[in-house]
Homo-oligomer: 375 residues x 2
């Protein structure tokens, strides 16, 4: 594998975990990120400090690689088209990425390909909202550039129009759902597809907040099969090479609707580093390097607890309660290499393993609040 020069657009935690898995394959790695303190900076052969949204920067970076991949969607896709034309292996393919980068095109793709998804309307600007009052309650989502809940606002009635986005958006009909689930699929250069088991967002029994992710999801077997079928269908339809994380709703009447997709390693797959023989990161690398995909079956049930910076704390991170957290058998920590914490910043995650679903949930409830990231 000496001949492979893998360039990664983005040097955050997803890139970092990809590099970590990439060590197994002895790749020459390059990373492009606008933050000179990016978590990847010390973990690659070449760290390039630059903007992955800029055409010239991405093109020049990619020309030094044999393979180019991403850890964030919001990159300059025109440069990727040019690199692909020049014979660089760019995965996900620029055409797939172009559709996914724009939530409007994503929705239209779902519609054209009979992929179940919530009703939507495309708006050029907020002025068009008045004509769509009948469509509320809905979520208004920026077509481009949103991430991690940014770029999304809930519009219940015309009274909320003051907080509406002024840019091109998708207006998505509010879905009454039972559960949010996700499936991560991998598809390699040769077209082989494998899906990781369905992951479920478990909500806190009182607060309306995600408590943790549970794998495998505790939904009916039929729904699991349906979710995997849909995710596989989307992956093939979008001509993905690499990973595709497919986020879905299970509605109260037992339907599955695709919410949105991301063509890269995803937060809902981090537990695979501990619970599965093949992690999502190894799978992504196998896929884009044209290797056979690994076994995606889990060894055991797992819970993923995201570690966020404590509210009210900004500054150099201190991990309080680490010892008592790791004292529980089957609990593992993964920190993202970030020196500074901020309120709700994703600083790492815990993976909890146990032989049964009951035990893993119980263990997660026991330890989930022991670790505090303060400054």
């Amino acid at each position: 594998m000496n001949a492979i020069k893998l360039g990664i657009l983005g040097g955050g935690q997803l890139g970092r975990m990809l590099l970590q898995a990439g060590l197994d394959f002895n790749l020459y790695t390059l990373v492009l990120d606008p933050d000179e303190h990016a978590p990847c900076r010390h973990l690659c052969e070449e760290f390039v400090h630059g903007d992955f949204k800029d055409y010239d920067t991405v093109y020049a970076f990619g020309k030094r690689c044999t393979h180019v991949t991403i850890e964030i969607e919001h990159v300059n896709v025109d440069a990727l088209f040019a690199l692909e034309k020049d014979g660089i292996q760019v995965y996900p393919k620029p055409a797939s990425l172009q559709t996914i980068q724009d939530k409007g095109l994503q929705k239209e793709f779902f519609q054209k390909n009979n992929i179940p998804t919530s009703d939507f309307r495309l708006l050029q600007d907020a002025a068009e909202l008045e004509a769509n009052v009948d469509f509320l309650p809905a979520f208004q989502k920026l077509r481009r550039g949103g991430y991690d809940g940014n770029g999304v606002t809930r519009l219940s009635s015309a009274n909320d129009f003051h907080k509406a986005f002024q840019a091109p958006t998708v207006l998505e009909k509010l879905v009454e759902f039972e559960t949010e689930i996700s499936v991560i699929c991998a598809r390699n250069v040769q077209g082989e597809v494998k899906a990781f088991p369905v992951v479920e967002q478990v909500m806190h029994p009182e607060h309306n907040l995600v408590d943790y992710l549970l794998a495998p999801a505790q939904i009916a077997y039929k729904l699991q099969r349906m979710a995997i079928e849909i995710a596989t269908h989307v992956t093939t339809g979008l001509d993905i090479v690499g990973l595709l994380a497919v986020e879905m709703f299970v509605t109260r009447d037992g339907q599955i609707l695709v919410n949105e997709v991301a063509p890269r390693p995803h937060n809902s797959g981090h537990h695979t580093m501990k619970a599965n023989a093949t992690s999502q990161f190894e799978q992504h690398l196998r896929a884009i390097l044209g290797l056979p995909l690994g076994d995606a079956e889990p060894h055991c049930p797992a819970v993923l607890v995201n570690l966020l910076g404590e509210a009210g704390h900004s500054g150099e991170a201190v991990y309080e309660g680490l010892e008592t957290t790791l004292q529980e058998p089957g609990v593992h920590i993964h920190l993202y290499g970030k020196k500074f914490t901020r309120p709700f910043r994703k600083m790492g995650h815990l993976t909890v393993l146990a032989p049964t679903i009951e035990e893993v949930k119980q263990k997660a409830d026991t330890i989930k609040n022991r670790l505090k990231i303060i400054a």
Copy 2:
């Protein structure tokens, strides 16, 4: 964990896998190695090009760290004593390392602590061999500096004396053994000890060569318990903090004899990265950082196949047959980041996983010769 500055003496594959696991803990890492192309060079915050056998180099390096550990035994122990005195956390402790570095002191330690081991005699030089002809057949081992089969010679009779070492050596009575096994123990700063299951060397049915390592070992349960008890006893006796790999013989009459020990991650534990919730590398880090030890139980049986450079090939490594090797479900590769291959150079390993011992052995037999590392 921002405050920890972990220095590793040695930048080879063991250091590389330790750094890979260390990413989970967000440590600031420094590596010292005399080879400027060492596999660790791009994977740490500071790579120091220098000799880990030199007092001044090791002392100066260690003074920049909060914690110092090793990936090779043959380091300057006097410098480590000085660092320990200065309050740096040095694990394994210099005193443990001093005993282990000298195979003569190791043997005397086993003897004094009632740890079963083969008979031995200590020789100042080859001239003393004549007086010990009665002790043959035996292995003559260099007291210091041997590694990976280097520094060991078999003396069957006086006719072999021409190939004897001239330096201080241990003469070890030849043991008629059934199986070679190893147990890796971890002991943390607080004194907690955990052992990974016993690993067995499986020999090729025809050639007298190790075919692969099998975990867990297929020896009687009583012998497994005995092996773990002995390894735990040695670990505590040597006051280890970190890992201790204990290599043992199972004799034809059902005894267990300790062969030798290494106070660091060990080849016989590499499968734990895939087959266990806690790898030996995570365990070593937990141990030396004073964290609770992780669960050492395996998810499933595993085989470890070492990938050696093909005989007759020297130069830039090419991995032939990688695709057909990885096609087999449950097979994972780990390459060590070495650009050049040489005959029998350790270039990486394969881990094979399966639900049963029979399946894992069968799978290992199927794939073990598919991958060739040529130049």
